[in-house]
């Protein structure tokens, strides 16, 4: 091996270590249907990345691959420079899917709060079971997070007693309780009544301002344009366009992105 190559290798390693998540050649098929057809994506620390695209384009599948909720069909995936395996446990230099999910928080379109647990128990369950935190520590942290999302007074309520916007804010607190390095938001406002969207976006914006690395799949174009550092447009399973929001959303290059954005801007 020649000297320049070795330097290249070193440089590549440093590059991937700067990235919290790095995927190469990611494909995902469900049976015969190939949904993602080769995605390369790097997520640097502190970046807010918005994924936009038409329904069925594969954007939800992509964000679900980023915490191994969907197992990649082919491609490589590294987290902070270490390869991620599909096994639950860590082994031989690989990070397991379990560890990865602890570091990558996720919020879902339909909240998926645990209906049999109170709000505070929803938030403490993960840390107590996965991180083996004691109850007092977990509850103190949960209270801080619930205060941050404006729901400290709902600690002892059950999810069924909350509005959609409140449920989603609890779900955000639940994900933050694991002290994640990245947060994934999969269409977190799509199931909400229009008047409740604002309160959830406000929490997401505060997180972005606090420097949290985030990936958002969203249909809220105006919001994406405001908070995102970078926008990627997924179409038919590939990244069709990417760049800063002012470029992608104001001066789209491809016709497909133009027509997609026109539908949102009326």
């Amino acid at each position: 091996m020649t000297e320049p190559n070795a330097i290249d290798e070193d440089k590549k390693m440093t590059d991937t270590q700067d990235h919290i998540i790095s995927v190469r050649g990611l494909t995902k098929s469900f049976g015969a249907l190939q949904v993602l057809k080769g995605i390369d994506l790097d997520l640097p620390a502190g970046e807010v990345l918005a994924i936009i695209g038409p329904s069925g384009s594969g954007k939800s599948t992509l964000i679900r691959c980023l915490n191994m909720m969907e197992i990649l069909t082919t491609g490589s995936f590294s987290f902070r420079g270490s390869p991620v395996s599909t096994d639950f446990r860590d082994k031989k230099g690989h990070i397991g899917a379990g560890t990865l999910r602890g570091k990558v928080g996720m919020c879902f379109q339909h909240f998926n709060l645990f209906p049999h647990l109170t709000v505070i128990d929803n938030v403490t369950k993960g840390p107590m079971i996965v991180l083996k935190e004691d109850k007092a520590t977990a509850e103190n942290h949960a209270r801080e997070l619930l205060e941050k999302v404006g729901l400290l007074d709902k600690c002892d309520s059950f999810p069924s007693q909350l509005s959609g916007g409140q449920k989603q804010r609890v779900a955000i607190a639940r994900a933050l309780a694991m002290r994640p390095d990245v947060m994934l938001f999969d269409e977190v406002t799509s199931a909400l009544d229009p008047e409740l969207v604002g309160e959830v976006l406000e929490v997401v914006r505060e997180l972005a301002e606090a420097g949290m690395t985030m990936v958002l799949v969203t249909h809220e174009m105006a919001f994406a344009a405001q908070v995102a550092d970078r926008v990627i447009f997924i179409d038919q399973g590939v990244i069709a366009e990417e760049g800063p929001p002012e470029q992608v959303m104001v001066n789209p290059k491809s016709d497909r992105l133009k027509s997609f954005l026109t539908r949102f801007n009326g």
Binding site: R101, N112, F114, P115, H116, K125, G126, I129
Partner: protein, 229 residues
């Protein structure tokens, strides 16, 4: 003609004679209780194994569990008990005591129904619950134990209690292999006293007294569950 209508020819109830054998009834009731508790406990284990096998990714396990359930659900319990006591020893070449044959068949039978109840309860939980549990880093078994099962048990309980009530009554079939449970003891008391009406009335009251609280609890629980939904 007047035979049925005249007062003095009507059946003369005599519970006193039967009451002399009350200890036999109590012994029978106790035996019924033991077989019920025993077969339900073992049946829960069979039911859980069957449910998890049916939910597993391994086709061989799914087929095995399905076969077990269908065989036991589609043949009468009385036939199963008789078969285990009379036919199975011929195949295995060893004698099987009646209490083993009885307990084994009662457990396998109720387990096959429990399996369906457990599987249905687990399937009724939205798959988003498992995803949310995995998303905070829980393993599959942790998600099952802490998130899915506590919710599924609530959904299963009414059907589970119902099946268990039937199970108490099913123990009466053990009389066919001479196990001294309540129905067999009633038969014995009848043989001693020649008072079948009274003997079977006492047995009916005892079964009812055992089961009525259970069905009431099931109703109460179902009402409460509907409220909490």
């Amino acid at each position: 003609m007047a035979y049925v209508s005249t007062g003095e020819k009507m059946y003369h109830w005599d519970f006193y004679t039967v009451a002399q054998s009350f200890d036999l009834f109590l012994l029978g009731l106790w035996t019924t209780f033991l077989y019920t508790v025993g077969s339900i406990s073992i049946g829960i284990v069979f039911g859980l194994l069957a449910a998890f096998a049916r939910l597993s990714n391994w086709m061989a396990l799914r087929i095995l569990a399905r076969t077990y359930q269908e065989v036991f659900r589609c043949t009468p319990l009385l036939v199963q008990i008789m078969w285990a006591y009379y036919a199975l020893p011929l195949i295995l070449g060893i004698a099987i005591p009646n209490y083993i044959a009885g307990l084994m068949m009662l457990s396998l039978y109720v387990g096959s129904f429990y399996g369906e109840i457990f599987r249905g309860g687990i399937n009724a939980i939205d798959k988003g619950q498992r995803e949310a549990a995995l998303a905070v880093g829980m393993s599959g078994p942790q998600a099952m134990r802490h998130i899915i099962m506590p919710q599924a048990v609530k959904k299963m309980l009414p059907a589970f209690i119902n099946q268990s009530v039937i199970q108490v009554k099913n123990t009466s079939l053990l009389y066919a292999i001479s196990i001294a449970e309540l129905t067999y003891m009633t038969y014995v008391v009848n043989g001693e006293t020649y008072r079948p009406m009274e003997a079977y009335t006492v047995a009916a009251i005892m079964y009812f007294a055992l089961l009525f609280p259970l069905t009431q609890f099931a109703d109460y629980f179902e009402r409460r569950m509907r409220r909490s939904d």
